[in-house]
Symmetry: C2
């Protein structure tokens, strides 16, 4: 390993420059205007894999964005790891809140700022550089390796499942490794053993045919914005508990063991408030913050728009209002069932004088790991060596809808080995990766192959 | 009068072309970028007054937008009418909903479409052309005439009151005539005898320091958009009655006579729904639509914005949310007192985990006329001659905050003689004026001078 460590030390600056090159491609998948950038980004990753000596690399077209697929088989008798990541990124609005341009990666105080720095291009890059280090130093990789890097994660991976099913043999593996999650704190390596699912909805409220003068008509017709506020407010009770009938039916209770594990984690509400900047913690009554984040479902407005929102005072009664609302789900809630319950309930509480329509976007299953498999031990050992600290196991509040899909499809454990730090502004302005953690991440993955080879999965 | 009628018939096309010239100036007062257009518009009106032979015309600067002031004194012993109007217009967003450009007035099916066609440039133009017709035909004007055409009505006339107070002697008058209201139906001339007041507020809700990932943080911190919805929903009860403590204290009950007058008006909910395009009428329980519009206060969201509102699904927990909320007030509610009650109540119901700030914009007093003064008979006679139909007296739901100001300052009755038709899209895309009504409006005003001279005020 010392050769590898030497190589990693020596090439730190080059790795960072190459990461910046990858980040400069504005591969936003939510906006069709960026299709060319998406394709360029996939080709960029494929080219870098070929450069480091992987021969079997393909950019596979799909009805949407292409998937980069690569493999390096050394021996059918050793374990096969499948690495999944995504090269697409979130939009950058509100762009005026960025301190440096989102696609001009900029280093400040040991952090690299830019869209995709941790979610997920930076973490994909960690794997690329670990592979390169093993191959360039002649250390080799003692496991079979397959990579699937897709370009539609931020829009719900609409083409991934079909691709995986159609290529099930080619992609068969013993364990799946994904770096798209975070660490509980700086210097505290973390393996995520649970993820929330997702149901993403849009509510459209229509009232008058056009915007009306709020004086001439106000009071005589329903106001879609007031109606939308009423609907949203009705979705939770005074304890912050979601009121949709049947919503909690499949929610597993939190066990005493889970509660004890969480209470033992070095987490405080004070740190959490510092990280978020919120004036106080808030949420469903009767639960701690970690319980709310890891074990309880949510219902959050992601966006809301109606009427005149510019400068000044326009006295308009808006013709329509809309909101985007996402729910994070926990085992064993089913996103399709929850989406149906949401739509039925919202339509049932539509106020008089407006028409309410609900549309369902992508969803994702919640997931909880079985951390007994040896691959979790291997991952923990790899982390401990690289970070010189004992890893923690915890549930993540976020969703990676394809995690349960991988687990089921390949009948293989999924290890979430992520390197974003608290406050890294995923999906927000000024997203960043901690560069020291980035380099420790590369060392972790370079270690992982040996640990898996010796311990199995 | 036959000379005047002949002149009006002969010059219809020219009047319409001149109206279009006036409408082409984008005199939007809510947007400081249009200051030059505002000034150009004031000068345009002043020039047209001078052209028709009014000598005493001045464009008076204010700390904001200039006021066009003109007068024509014929005899200190005859009544003096002061005509008020405004040359500023509302913004045009959402501009994509206009079928023709807002500042390129376009005729379709007897209507002229464009911003300001009825609110209020088109109605100001009615007065200009009536004056021109009387002077050009040699009929003269048998009353003293004063004009005050301001450029800040759509932003709450912040400089008008000071101007009026500083020029009280110069502007002294026996009655005030304002054409900035509407007719109950086409062919049904209408005098507005009541107006609602206005209190315009903004609510700002702040939560986390930046937009957060709704997965990693959702459930653990308060969501400003959900909190805003909760606040707005709390402002009315299940009967649509405003819940702000003290809000209704000064509201006058509706008398049996008022109810009978309204019931006698040729108004139906069906027509109103056709006009608005709303799926059904809605509003405060226990009141008819006309009662809701004329005699009851309202609380309407004018605009609401939070988080990600573009295409696609962004899973963001927004850092902030805002809403613009206006309340229409009825006698004897005071806008300042109501604004205070609103701010206190909204701040008192702020949910846990967010910071709520309330800002008060401009307000306006509600108003009810005393239609016993002779000038109302004069106005009714002038309308009846021009329209060949008996005028109706009704309350308008809108606000013209300076009406009660004029009444008090000059101790003079205010006559609201307006020519917009139902559905004319004031403050909305595709604002229009009915051209036949526009021309009958000019005839009305040309008649009015004689009626006032013979009946007094």
């Amino acid at each position: 390993m010392s050769d590898i460590q030497g190589f990693l030390s020596e090439h730190r600056a080059r790795f960072e420059e190459e990461l910046k090159d990858l980040l400069r491609i504005p591969s936003i998948s939510t906006d069709p205007a960026h299709l060319q950038d998406i394709v360029a980004c996939a080709e960029h990753i494929a080219a870098s894999l070929r450069t480091m000596g992987i021969e079997d690399v393909e950019v596979v077209p799909t009805p949407g964005n292409p998937i980069v697929v690569a493999q390096r088989i050394v021996d059918p008798s050793v374990p096969t790891l499948l690495v999944y990541g995504h090269y697409d990124v979130q939009p950058v609005d509100p762009v005026e809140l960025w301190d440096s341009p989102p696609f001009e990666p900029t280093e400040r105080d040991g952090r690299l700022y830019g869209r995709g720095t941790v979610d997920d291009k930076g973490q994909v890059h960690i794997h690329l550089k670990a592979i390169e280090a093993r191959l360039a130093t002649g250390a080799g990789i003692p496991v079979n390796l397959k990579l699937v890097i897709e370009g539609e994660e931020e829009i719900g991976s609409p083409n991934l499942e079909t691709f995986l099913r159609e290529n099930a043999d080619r992609l068969a593996c013993d364990a799946v490794v994904i770096s798209d999650t975070g660490m509980l704190a700086e210097g505290m390596p973390t393996i995520a053993v649970g993820l929330r699912g997702l149901a993403y909805m849009e509510i459209f409220v229509d009232g008058p045919a056009t915007d009306l003068h709020s004086g001439s008509y106000g009071g005589g017709v329903a106001n879609p914005a007031n109606a939308l506020a009423e609907i949203i407010a009705s979705l939770k009770d005074e304890n912050g508990r979601i009121t949709i009938p049947g919503f909690h039916d499949a929610v597993r209770p939190i066990t005493d063991a889970d509660k004890a594990d969480m209470a033992a984690l070095p987490f405080t509400d004070e740190d959490f408030l510092q990280e978020t900047g919120s004036p106080s913690v808030a949420g469903e009554a009767g639960f701690t913050t970690l319980e709310r984040l890891g074990y309880r479902p949510t219902l959050d407005v992601n966006g809301m728009l109606s009427g005149f929102t510019g400068e000044g005072a326009k006295t308009v009664l808006p013709a329509k209002a809309m909101a985007k609302v996402s729910m994070r789900l926990v085992p064993d809630q089913d996103p399709d069932a929850i989406s149906r319950l949401f739509a039925e309930y919202v339509e049932s509480i539509a106020p008089e004088g407006v028409t309410v329509t609900v549309r369902s976007h992508h969803g994702g299953q919640p997931w909880a790991a079985n951390p007994e498999s040896p691959v979790f031990g291997a991952a923990a050992a790899a982390l401990e060596k690289a970070f010189d600290a004992e890893p923690v196991f915890m549930r993540e509040g976020g969703s990676i809808p394809i995690v349960p899909l991988f687990q089921e499809m390949f009948d293989a454990p999924v290890v979430l080995l992520g390197f974003s730090l608290p406050g890294a502004n995923l999906h927000a302005p000024n997203e960043w990766i901690d560069l020291a953690t980035y380099h420790m991440g590369i060392a972790t993955i370079a270690n992982l192959y040996d640990e898996v080879a010796s311990r199995g999965v």
